[in-house]
């Protein structure tokens, strides 16, 4: 069985604005991160994959099916949009039952799957909780539960951790990793930490263009030897910021430990360090902006 998503030369326009520019990408099984700034085209790409938007040109194949075969595709995907919520007066169970019906599950299937899914996202004690009374984190977990109801081969999750507190965010990331076993989970986010903690494969979008696609280790390699740490006085900080991309700062009394990107080690007393995903991402984005 074909278990990958293939995009070939996908373009999408909104009037005169081009939201996606000739995107070609293969998304394999497992967790896949889609990284980019706000407005980079991530949501547009996610909506095309979720059959909610049409690509103007190009081809999209999901698990061997053309994305135009919407009914079949919708049976294979689960979608959690940005800011998921449902009717405030509905209870958790009612939301699952309603969306389960829309997903084509029969009554018996719903009766079996709903408790399983709510258990999985730790909402087993909240069957009667009204949507309007739920916290942001609970709603996201409910969103994941509803997206998993039809046991999809592809789970599309758009900006799921935005606005969550650190504890909820970690819990949510762990949940996504558990789910990613034997299915494709596409996680779209502008929060680099989410990708770093969960994804092996990533793609980076910048103003509608695909500027990186590959493994996280490959991304790190791009920035290898270009990340430095230096301890400077606070007075030197402004000059430092104007010359380099500063990816981190740690104040130590009157000194500041600065983590920055540099093509060569031109700064005195700086030492080279291993890049993390955030460093590599910022390095890549900076290169794109200079172009």
């Amino acid at each position: 069985m074909n278990t990958e998503i293939v995009l070939k030369n996908v373009n999408k326009f909104y009037g005169k604005n081009q939201a996606l520019k000739d995107i070609s990408l293969t998304i394999p099984n497992g967790m896949f991160g889609l990284l980019g700034r706000n407005g980079a085209g991530k949501t547009t790409l996610m909506k095309i994959l979720a059959t909610l938007h049409n690509a103007d040109t190009g081809k999209v194949m999901i698990c061997g099916l053309d994305v135009e075969e919407r009914a079949k595709i919708r049976d294979k995907i689960g979608y959690l949009p940005q800011d998921f919520t449902m009717y405030g007066t509905m209870s958790v169970y009612e939301v699952m039952d309603y969306l389960g019906t829309l997903a084509g599950l029969k009554k018996k299937e719903r009766a079996l799957r709903i408790p399983q899914m709510l258990d999985k996202v730790n909402l087993q004690n909240n069957y009667k909780t009204k949507v309007k009374a739920m916290s942001g984190g609970m709603r996201r977990r409910l969103g994941i539960a509803q997206a998993l109801l039809n046991n999809p081969q592809v789970l599309i999750v758009d900006e799921p951790t935005a606005g969550l507190d650190p504890e909820e965010r970690v819990r949510f990331r762990n949940l996504l990793c558990e789910i990613a076993d034997q299915r494709i989970v596409i996680l779209s986010t502008h929060i680099v930490g989410d990708i770093e903690a969960t994804c092996e494969n990533i793609a980076i979008l910048h103003e509608g263009e695909l500027c990186f696609s590959g493994k996280v280790s490959e991304l790190l390699n791009i920035a290898k030897g270009k990340i430095y740490i230096a301890e400077i006085s606070k007075l030197e900080l402004e000059e430092m910021k104007s010359k380099y991309i500063v990816t981190g700062m740690l104040t130590k009394g009157s000194k500041v430990e600065v983590r920055f990107v540099s093509e060569d080690n031109s700064f005195p007393y700086a030492r080279s360090v291993e890049p993390n995903v955030e460093d590599a991402y910022l390095y890549l984005m900076n290169g794109k902006e200079k172009v």
Binding site: T44, R74, Y79, T85, T89, D97, G104, G143
Partner: protein, 405 residues
Amino acid sequence: MFMSLFLKECKIWCKSILFYAYIIILFFFYVTQMRSESAIKRPRPGEKEYGITYSENNSDIMNGTLKVLLNEYYNNKFVTYPMGFYKPVILSANEIKQVEKNISKLTGITEKDWKEKLDHYYESKNIKWSFYITKDIGYNEFLSIMSDLEKVIGKGSKYSAKALKGNAKIAKTYEQALKEYDEFLKKDKVTRAYARVFSDYMGIVLAILPAFFGVARVLQDKRSNASAVIYSKKCSSIIIVLSRCLAIIVMLFIPVLILSCFSLVESLYIAKTMGAAPDYFVYLKFCIGWLLPILMFVSMLSYFITELTNSILALLINSGIWFVSVFLGFDSPLISVGWNLVPRFNIIGMHGMFQEIFPQLVKNRILYSILGVFMILISILIYSIKREGGHKFYGKISQNFNNQS
């Protein structure tokens, strides 16, 4: 899948404040309007009067109109309903002269003579009315004079072609009153007459309240950010929209049926006391045939417009339609059908008149039922387009179809 979804949609309405507000308004309207309707009493020979009726006779129409005209002229206060609302018109000296010329034409006597006669009539008591249309004036010429008068007085006056019949009030004879009573008892079986008036009153509120439901249901998805999740599900647009629309129609129709049962029980009691054989299903027939098309059309029009625009524009449009239907689109305030959304028959009895308008009523109701179904079909189409992210057109309306990230 459809039944399951339909029941869930009904359940959504059961939790809605809007639904309970609808029931309260409907009940309030029913109680305040229907309670005042009383039955026709059996006429007895030798009574002083048997009420009034409207003559179809041209001579009665002409003479009745002349009487109304002279009354209004004498007081220089002409009643008009230009936008469906009462507006008294006071004429200028020049306009009065034009009216006077027309009165002379109608009566066939000189201005001086009829003025003297008229002054004498109003100043003295116990003088019999003695103004009649001259024999030289035929009905067509009469209509032409009325048209001239309307130009002077303004639209919606008692001289507009639609209103002329209303001027031909004549006293009912015993025989006419008895015939109407018999028809009320035997043909209308009492219950039918009440069912008509029930439909008349309920039609007024049903021509506006369902509009809120179409708007509320569509905007509920937008307000709750639920559209994207629902769009991405396997279920077809036909089933989603059809279940929603049917749930609205059914949930709005049930309270109407329940209220009709109250009215039915009352009319059954009246029928029983009058010795009539009632029609137990007449309310059901009228609710389905008369009220359901209004409910369907109004709710589905608002559903369609809201699906198209994602705004509350439908409320404005529906309010406009309601205003025109209830206040402007009638021939007579009490009985009116035509192609109006809200047919009027606000009289207990008058079986013969109802029989006359019945064929038009049927055509009218079929039209609005078809329009209601049509609205559902195009709502399905629009919903289906929206689920696919809209198509390749960009305008103010279609902005609702696309949401760029």
